[in-house]
Amino acid sequence: MKLSPYVLTFSTFIAAGALALGYALNAQPLIALFFVALGLLWLVAQRYKWLPAASLGLLGVTIGAVLGTWYGVKSGWLLVSVTAGLAAWDLHHFIQHLQTSENPENVRALERAHVWRLGGVVGVGLLLGTLALTIRLTLRFGVILILMWLAFFGLSRLIHYLRQESD
């Protein structure tokens, strides 16, 4: 396993760095420093194979990105940060999942396939996110209500699905 650790470090660096840079460019150096620290902590946790750090890292980056919209941070930085955080979260789990294998051929093949799939997903997500940021729609209150209902309906369906899976 050679590729994944590099991509993981790179993604973490981008996730924290983009957010920190966004806040720094918005003249909020303290918050920027906080996210630099968050990135460093995440990197340390990766080194010590502490798995919960992946979810905490992604959560931190996402909350930072959502708050960034209130602080007026450029949305490009936020989108890049969330996307890179997602990739880092995924790879952190993937490396933990594969690290005990002794069969190098299988590991290499699985790693390659995973990175390709992740690259595609992240690429599409970034592209669609960029498109969404450039397109501006005005929604009526009713449409927003419908969207919220859809969100709740989707959440309940998901919980139902998860219950079925656990059975």
Binding site: T69, L79, V82, D90, N106, L118, V122, G125, G129, L133
Partner: protein, 428 residues
Amino acid sequence: MRRLLFLSLLLYGVLLAGLTSLRGTVVALAIPLAVYLLAAFLYSPEKPRLVISRTLSATTVNQDAPAVVTLTVTNQGAALEEVLIEDTLPSGLTITEGEPWLQTALPADATATFSYTVTGKRGHYPFRYLHVTVNERLGLFRRRGWLEVPGTLMVFPEPLKLEHLDIRPLRTRGYAGPIPSRQAGSGTDFFGVREYQMGDPLRWVNWRASARHQHTLFTNEFEMERIADVGLILDARQHNNIVVDHDSLFEHAIEATAGLAETFLNDGDRVGLLVYGRGLEITYPGYGKVQRERILRALANARTGDSLVFESLDYLPVRFFPAKSQIVLISPLREDDLPVLTRLRARGYQILVVSPDPVAFEAQNRAQDTATDFALRIIRVERELMLRRLRRVGIQVVDWQVDQPFDKVMRLSLVRPMAQTRIVRIER
């Protein structure tokens, strides 16, 4: 599952934050998360159709000898992006090479093989289930299941090396063997002299005896050598077993029993085994390699038991052993075993007791102080007296300290086969 839940909650959290705050930018931030979730959902695996077979390099191996377990997996369903197949290892086996699992991508109709090497102590190890986990590449959607792929590995005890043993049961069987049968016939040892009969070889004529009689010739007779029935009794009563630092006296007794069985079977004798303790585990008498395997199997499965019924040797099924045959009891012995052994001896059985010394075994790791020394001395004297009483009734006793070579101890203890034809009468 936790990852899926976490990502879903995060996605919905961001979406709700965006919708409630009416900020399109926040909704846009949720898009990469949604794409990730959607991609995982689209590629979520179908129910796998796997055919798995298990082969073992040997179904029976000796203690600590390696056995290779090979599993062949064939995917008869749709392609699987990532499958993890984990074998459930029976407790007691140790992996020395390889890993008991395979993580790979498995296209439709593809076959993958993985193998690992295990070693283990004496015992019976049933393999049963494989745990199969199938997931898409992002690892969010999984299917788990168990597949039953049975297999059994039997680890035989290591028989202690032993040379030929001189035993002299009162009754032997009809086939030629190494045991003097107390009957005249073809053999090598001088047995007696009888009157010459037509057909006797001239070199068998006893010229000295013949010289004393004018008209009669005498012929030497030799003792026939035959095989015998040997019944091995392994004492598996829990209260007779001593464990010191994971070393069990019972294990030594098992190895000794295996060695004795092998030696008797190599001599051509008919050997049976009774494991007495947890119940009555009987291996009926037989000959040769097949019987050797049967006995080793029985010994591999032997466990100590604390059944109240079999607490004493009173329930020893005597009819299991042919009359006047050789009985070999492998037991640390207890005081209340003496009457039973005496009764057996009185019935005409030739009895050999191989007794792993529990006192010496337990004394190995005892702290040396005056009280312990004194206690040990008392117990040693008690044991010596018990063994003497056994010898006095015509029972051969081998007092074996398990740290000494079994072969040497047996050779020294049985240096002269006892001509014990004396039958003990029970005093009532």
